[in-house]
């Protein structure tokens, strides 16, 4: 299997072999972070630009650490989405970064498809670090990596994703990635937060959290943001917790040990009870650690593919 994409834009467009290659490469990279000197020279002389139109400390820091452990130089640019219309267009910003001879842009953007636009118009690599409701591929990859590490496989696993599925890029990337690797995905949310057309896919929909959990090997708890539709459905946050919150009682009722994941940052007492987040079934901090390895793998692979393209020209 050879990685040929100069960009990582989403998991929907990847096949099983490509996803497995990223996971396998990440597995090799994980060891680097356990060394005394947590650095390898693989991307020495390369410049990675974190271009973030949305505030996100954890993803930005994770990418920054990943790039630095590969010896790349990292520049962080924080731009406000609101200024996009008034000032420089996304494309112009991207072209400028390319003119500065950067090698990779890691883009976080509030609008779906922003990374696709940039990748199509630029020659340098673009890694999607979350675009609107569309995709957040590295988050899903680290979720899947952690799950595989914990349970030994993905094929045949039953994974429940609970939360505002309709407006979640994490949910979408997880759905595409997990199903491609042969897992059975159930999404759990109130009807209004279930994305339209999902019934045309292999994904199961269950609006009852206890029923959904009863058939799950793992649960991925999404961070509740209470945007328009969610706020309509749950005027008070406690209403959501009562109906969909992941609590010890709910997990206990299943009689099985369900792996609990969360992309962070946690809203304790809203989508997840504190004792569950800190409990023995939780792999939330492992996810954070694995995020570095996964992002190292992604940065390494897209840079390689990009170099191959140049030398082929």
């Amino acid at each position: 299997m050879i990685w040929t994409r100069k960009d990582l834009l989403g998991l929907e467009e990847l096949n099983r072999e490509e996803i497995e290659l990223i996971l396998g490469t990440a597995d090799s990279f994980k060891e680097v972070s356990s060394r005394e000197i947590k650095k390898v020279p693989a991307l020495r002389g390369k410049t990675v630009v974190n271009l973030f139109y949305e505030p996100s400390t954890r993803t930005r820091v994770s990418f920054e650490i990943a790039a630095k452990r590969l010896s790349a130089d990292v520049i962080n640019i924080a731009a406000e989405t609101s200024s996009v219309r008034k000032g420089e267009t996304l494309l112009d910003t991207g072209r400028n970064i390319q003119a500065l001879k950067a090698d990779v842009i890691v883009l976080r953007h509030g609008f779906s498809g922003a990374a696709v636009l940039l990748a199509r118009k630029l020659d340098i690599s673009v890694v999607n670090a979350g675009d609107g409701w569309h995709e957040h591929p590295t988050q899903a990859l680290l979720d899947i990596f952690t799950l595989k590490e914990k349970l030994g496989r993905i094929e045949g696993l039953r994974v429940c994703i609970v939360g505002d599925i309709a407006h979640s890029r994490v949910a979408r990337s997880n759905i595409w990635g997990l199903t491609r690797l042969g897992a059975k995905v159930t999404v759990c949310a109130p009807k209004i937060l279930i994305p339209p057309g999902i019934e045309q896919t292999d994904v199961d929909v269950n609006c009852d959290i206890e029923e959904a959990l009863s058939k799950a090997d793992a649960v991925n708890v999404l961070r509740m943001q209470f945007e328009r539709d969610a706020r309509d459905a749950f005027p008070r946050e406690i209403d959501y917790f009562r109906k969909f919150g992941i609590t010890r009682e709910r997990l206990k009722k299943t009689g099985r040990d369900i792996v609990v994941m969360h992309p962070g940052p946690l809203n304790r007492g809203i989508e997840i009870a504190s004792d569950v987040a800190d409990g023995s079934s939780s792999v939330i901090l492992e996810q954070v650690t694995n995020g570095i390895a996964v992002r190292m793998a992604v940065l390494f692979l897209v840079s390689q593919a990009h170099d191959k393209r140049i030398s082929a020209d």
């Binding site: 680097v32 000197i37 693989a42």
Partner: protein, 181 residues
């Protein structure tokens, strides 16, 4: 590629491993302080054999590690085939130890240079020694082997292929030459 000659057969490979093991023990005055680190892929197989041999002789276990040097290569961008990154497994501290680095063929010395860089990231060994099954010459860097299974004078048009049971089903070393079959 035309196969020109068989340099070592199964028995010869075995004899080389045994001899190198003895030489390592001799030079280091026993097993104390030694650890063996093989360079993926075939260096790792040879390292395993040498470690087995040494602990067989000394009746004492010897630390064994595996090094993947992909991330340290200075030709990452120019090699035509995409490298696959594998795991490095060094489950012990190398600081203050005598590290015996093992590879199958010593040629330009660049692989060993990468391995030295990588090892430096794991700690500060007392010494690093180099053991290779075949030294075929044409060094591009000031690097030499401490333990050599067989010196094989070659031309640059030739290649040396090491086959080991673990990865290739049998033990042998052959000399190949570019050209029409």
């Amino acid at each position: 590629m035309k196969e020109k000659a068989r340099i070592l057969d199964q028995e010869a490979v075995k004899r080389c491993v045994t001899r190198i093991s003895h030489e390592i023990l001799e030079k280091n005055k026993g097993v104390k302080g030694i650890c063996i680190v093989g360079i993926r892929t075939r260096g790792a197989h040879l390292a395993g054999r040498i470690a087995d041999c040494i602990s067989g002789i000394e009746k004492e276990p010897v630390d064994l590690g595996v090094l993947d040097i992909t991330l340290y290569r200075d030709d990452l961008t120019s090699i035509s085939q995409q490298p696959v990154v594998h795991k490095t497994e060094i489950g012990f501290d190398i600081t203050g130890r005598n590290v015996v680095l093992v590879d199958d063929v010593l040629y330009t010395g660049r692989t060993v240079r990468c391995a030295l860089d990588a090892l430096a990231d794991f700690g500060r060994p007392r010494t690093i020694q180099l053991a290779v099954l075949v030294d075929r010459g044409h060094r591009e860097l000031p690097i030499r082997a401490d333990f050599v299974g067989k010196n094989v004078p070659t031309s640059r048009e030739e290649t040396v292929e090491v086959r080991l049971t673990e990865s290739d089903g049998k033990d042998e070393v052959v000399l190949k030459e570019r050209g029409n079959e």
